[in-house]
Symmetry: C2
Subunit: 240 residues, 2 copies
Amino acid sequence: MPTSSREQHTGIQPSLIIERVTSTLREQVVARLRAALTEGVFRPGERMVERDICERLNVSRPLIREALRQLDAEGLVELVPHRGPVVRRLTTEEATELYDLMAVVEGECARYCVRRATADDLALLRKRTLALVEALRARDRGRIVKSKKLYYDALFAACHSASIEFYLRQISARLSQFWSSSVQVPGRIEEGTAELLAILDAIERRDENAASEAAQIFIRHARRQQDLRAIAEGSHRDAV
Amino acid sequence: MPTSSREQHTGIQPSLIIERVTSTLREQVVARLRAALTEGVFRPGERMVERDICERLNVSRPLIREALRQLDAEGLVELVPHRGPVVRRLTTEEATELYDLMAVVEGECARYCVRRATADDLALLRKRTLALVEALRARDRGRIVKSKKLYYDALFAACHSASIEFYLRQISARLSQFWSSSVQVPGRIEEGTAELLAILDAIERRDENAASEAAQIFIRHARRQQDLRAIAEGSHRDAV
DNA sequence: GATTGATAGATTGTCAGACAATTGGAGCAT
DNA sequence: ATGCTCCAATTGTCTGACAATCTATCAATC
């Protein structure tokens, strides 16, 4: 769980809360490393020598070690005893499993949206969905990335479940090394936009099963893209 | 991810692997604390003062701190900045969400069993299912706990997915504080045994959807038990 | 008497430095 | 090539320290 986020979603009392950005250095370190890992600054399989990271981030070794324990538990790094941390590398097999997990959890997320989203949540979700669809149609990679992030923020806000959000973000982070940025399955964009709209529609219609189903389909189809890339790159073998 | 468990589920080569019990003290500490947390040695909401734990386990503070970071990421403790670690307390709301997650993930687990289980896996699963059913019928609490553990070991082995196992165990650990040990919904045992057998049957029939459905139903019904307990105990309020 | 403010104590956050244990690999011998 | 020995690189773990921050106690004020 992300160290202490205590936003009681009471619905009432809209934010007199002071967001403490981060009070501890460690949280910043973890955030920094996590970002670096998901953004590919460290390559899968690469060793992360503690002292090097200390110097790069200018913090002490105990701090780095604590941060690494956390990232290990999140599945982003692997701590080989007496050999040190290594950027976890996913096999296609593991990626497949994670996608399947993501699909069912995201289905549950959509289900929760149906149950819990307020009118405001829905309005925002609609807006963000359409923005993402637009970005997809424009095939503007930068805009797609940003819109996607905003879309998911809205989706998670609408489902009002910290647990679902937590696990989806975690799985997503673990899969990040697998995101394609070059290969494009022909017609995937058209298909994807239709599916996004289907999710939105089902949620707005308050149809739980349809929403869950639509969300799952979206993820499973998105995965196909990956399969293709894996094949293109020589099936992502374990040994470098 | 549980610090480096590298059992390539090749299916072939049944364990020439030498299980290194634990090469580092930290792993033992984490295991110990995790066990203590799930077994209720520490009560939800209780503070875990670092130095106290150091003395109790006879290890140094850095080690305890690393262990706590990991348990934090697993959702078992909460690290309040400048106040220290607290045993995470679940609200009924959070427990509900986790049960829903567990249901869909366990559904996926059953689905994977259908896809991947070998004949040996199935034989063991059948044996363990029947043993659990027996224990349930005998209403022998100790035996039920042991059989259940073995049942899940077999189920996870049969699904051949480290990710699914990882997340299910984690969610299960987080929910442990919520397991009832006293209240019994009348007829639940009969219902539960029937559902367990239904799961087994669906897997043996190689019917993915039925297996997934049966597993989900089992969890959702098991949760009802919890609802009852929560009500009985005054709905598990947040403030002590 | 209740609220506010201030002081002290407890605990965490972070660092530096040290040393033993283990691993991986280089080099040597067979 | 194969196997062995030894060494360098890193990690695993500890001790001790001190600043930052929180909690609670107690005094001061209205």
